[in-house]
């Protein structure tokens, strides 16, 4: 049964139940992954998952139900469960199905819309391992090497005649190198993404993995203290990803963000502008409509340090008395509608990375943050994270540093931005959000290392 047939059955079941307002959200995701180990394709996996989520509005309450089974019986069950769900909901929050009042979005298909040939994927994966090993003789082994293709397709329809679809595809190259230098094991990975297999820069991926691994030969901890810090684009992207929820009106209205009453106020340094651009040309994923079917648009969320808007879906917008910003999201097809950015990035400045280091003089470049799922508190903004990077000495990138912890607070960090670089990069795209940032210089952050630097200074050693 295809989705159109299933949708017809679901809508018929909904009408039989006497429902007037309902929608169906369908997502199909397919992946193909080729993994290489020691010159051979060691693992292949191909998965396809199709899921549909039905919502209905009943006496002001929204009910949800999802399925991966698509028979006539499942269509009926889906509707019945959603009705039961709506009856159990007590929340007084207003609920909406999109009525088209903010315009009608365009459907969007992915660029080529089909997977590369299996042989081409195999060849690329084998080539990637060869390139990775050829980067440096100190690389003993490529412990992870993968070329993957992923495509997803989203289809939305509702009882008011909405009928939208969008699709995307991405090719991902992943390499993890293993080296042992002076008896110490070192490993690191790199990822590159592109929209087509031809566009996937395998060489760059191999080079980056080698840099990330061998750049840390002889890495040491540093004394605890407060250091000026430059976050690399990768490190800043992981912070944005973790803390982007503070810009959600949904979180703000629930008291889960401190920005609820800050719209129009200065919340960051004037060097910082944060943009949400669903159709950004440099991003693989283009999002013409959000998870409620509302057309999307570009907006600066923070402009020159001033919070210009929070991100809204129909519900949060109605509560705040503003139009939706087109940021309704679903974290997977089964999820309730929430709020999230689309392509969300720190607007680049004019300084090159080298000029940024020159301006910092003495400090620390953080290239990777770890354990964000545990060491970062999205409500308080506090984070305390294992990280690594390099010293900045005499205005240049210096010796590698690891086994340190950086502790700060996201809200404070926004205010402490001194300057941003011109090297905007984006992370791996997902079906909903993609984050981007250039290098970002912040005035100071607490670093915990292995010698107590402050103590030895106070003793005058």
């Amino acid at each position: 049964m295809n989705i159109q047939e299933f949708q017809a059955l679901v809508f018929q079941a909904a009408q039989e139940q006497g429902l007037k307002d309902y929608d169906l959200y369908y997502q199909k995701t397919s992946t193909q992954e080729y993994e290489v180990y020691q010159g051979e394709i060691e693992k292949f996996s191909g998965t396809t998952v199709m899921g549909a989520c039905f919502r209905c509005l009943l006496e002001g309450h929204m009910g949800y139900s999802s399925t991966q089974r698509f028979s006539q019986e499942d269509a009926r069950n889906l509707v019945e469960q959603a009705v039961e769900s709506a009856r159990a909901v007590e929340s007084k929050d207003p609920q909406f199905l999109y009525d088209g009042s903010l315009g009608t979005a365009q459907s969007l298909k992915s660029a080529s819309g089909r997977a590369p040939a299996a042989q081409d994927m195999r060849d690329a994966a084998l080539e990637l391992e060869r390139l990775a090993l050829a980067e440096d003789s100190r690389i003993q082994e490529v412990s992870g090497c993968q070329v993957a293709y992923e495509e997803w397709e989203i289809h939305m329809a509702n009882s008011r005649g909405m009928d939208l679809s969008r699709g995307s595809q991405v090719l991902v190259a992943y390499v993890e190198d293993m080296a042992k230098v002076e008896g110490k094991p070192l490993n690191a990975y790199a990822v590159k993404v592109a929209e087509t297999l031809d566009g996937l820069d395998l060489k760059a991926c191999a080079r980056l993995a080698a840099e990330n691994t061998l750049g840390f030969v002889g890495a040491k901890s540093i004394p605890s203290g407060t250091y000026p810090v430059v976050f690399s684009s990768k490190a800043m992207i992981s912070l944005l990803d973790t803390f982007s929820g503070v810009f959600s009106a949904d979180n703000a209205q629930r008291g889960l963000s401190l920005l609820g009453d800050q719209v129009g106020k200065t919340i960051a340094s004037d060097a910082l502008t944060l943009v949400d651009d669903p159709l950004y040309a440099g991003c693989i994923n283009k999002v013409p409509f959000d998870a409620e079917g509302v057309p999307t648009h570009r907006k600066a969320v923070v402009e020159g340090g001033v919070l210009t808007t929070l991100l809204h879906n129909l519900k949060t917008a109605a509560k705040a008395g503003v139009p939706s910003t087109g940021n309704a999201c679903k974290w997977g097809y089964t999820s309730p509608v929430g709020v999230a950015p689309s392509n969300f990035y720190v607007q680049p400045g004019t300084l090159s990375r080298e000029e940024l280091f020159q301006a910092v003089g003495e400090g620390l470049l953080i290239t990777e943050l770890r354990g964000l799922h545990a060491g970062a508190n999205a409500q308080s903004g506090d984070f305390s994270l294992e990280c690594r990077g390099y010293r900045i000495t005499g205005g240049q990138k210096g010796a590698p540093v690891d086994q340190i912890v950086i502790a700060s607070n996201f809200y404070e960090l926004l205010k402490q931005v001194v300057a941003v670089g011109d090297d905007l990069e984006f992370g791996t795209p997902g079906a909903d959000s993609c984050f981007g940032s250039p290098s970002v210089w912040v005035r100071g952050a607490a670093i915990a290392g292995q010698e107590d630097g402050t103590a030895s200074q106070s003793q005058g050693k």
Binding site: F44, G46, G63, R370, G375
Partner: protein, 461 residues
Amino acid sequence: MLSEHIIQQVLERAVSTGGDFAELFVEDTLSNGVSMIDGAVEAVNTARIYGAGIRVLKGVKSVYASTSDVTLQGLLAAAESAAAAIAVSDAWQGSITLTPKAAPDRHPVVEYPGQVPVRRKVELIRAAYDSMKSYSPEIVQAVASLSDKDQQVLIANTEGLLTRDRRVRTRLAAQAIASDGKENQVGFEGPGRLAGYEIFEREIDPAAYGRTAAKQAVTMLHADYCPAGQMMVAIENGFGGVLFHEACGHSLEAEAVAKGHSEFAGKLGQQVASTKVTAIDDGTPANLWGSINIDDEGTPGQKNVLIENGILTGYLVDRLNGRRMGLPSTGSARRESYLYAPTSRMTNTYIANGEDDNEEIIRSMERGLYAKKMGGGQVNPATGEFNFAVAEGYLVENGVITRPVRGAMLIGTGSQVLLDIDRVGKNLDFGQGMCGASSGSVPTNVGQPLIRIKQLTVGGR
């Protein structure tokens, strides 16, 4: 679910191009979620997960294909795509005689989630919600939710295995947010069992867990930042076991060990921990969150002693990695759903009770950190570098717990921290978590009594 005849055809098709082993995993899962915020039921969600995964092995090469089309036609198509991907020349010569085998039934369920009316679920979360909100006026927001999952699986393979299992899991989540208007702190409790709703009559009191979450949030709101540096650290029982899970457990999984990508590879029989440490992964205890009847390859769960009095005695092994290591399965193959090929994972993993007096462990600390409640963490098995967050910490000064501290992050390397454990107390208990790795997110229990580590790097500010 499926007739033996269909299973046999699918397996035969899967090995038709020369695979030496094929396995079929079919899943039909119903999951429910109910959540409450602002004192009202916010969402009720039901989802059905339905599909099959087919794995074909040839030596240490593997292919995995999944589909949500569980008809003969759909399964044969998936089997064919897997067979095409493994493509060796010689056809399979064996024959398959399926022998139905009942899985052990160690985890009785009294009240299946499907039988529990939404009304009762709402009462349970309301109890947790009310106890959080009434704990203190500083609790500005509380979120209580219940999730349950009823997973039915069928596992068959070309060795003739044909078995079924039903896994019912139920979990409460209570999250309290304390605020003084300027900043937020969070407390969290998430008790769960491999069982039905009877757990709320016997051992899990939602109100008590709600109070604990609220107390943690309020305590942390009034806490200073943890000082940074190196210090002695005592870690309390229950979720404190995440230390062993991250610092050592992942590095003992065959997925890391088989290719030598673990700091514990090749160390069987050697001393890897202080002699006070005995560590166990046990999938068998009745109804524990991480327990299993059979793993996701159909092997019964078992008790695996990993470290005995400091000596490394075993690894966690799945079928595929076992081939590389020449070791039999230890009943450790797990996966989130049919979308993932199984790999070696933990179940209930804990440091066993020791002989040290809990009070003396604190009394004999001159200065250090007492981690009453841990957050999550992360490890790089190749180097053993780990990080994990302290959710509720206190300073210890001259043998006395003095004041709460927030934002502490512990980092180190697994091999070193195990050797540095200098006290092991007597109050073993477990905490529940979801563990993410290459085969998805699986429920795991972590556990330990109060333990103490001579010295760790503590991040703070």
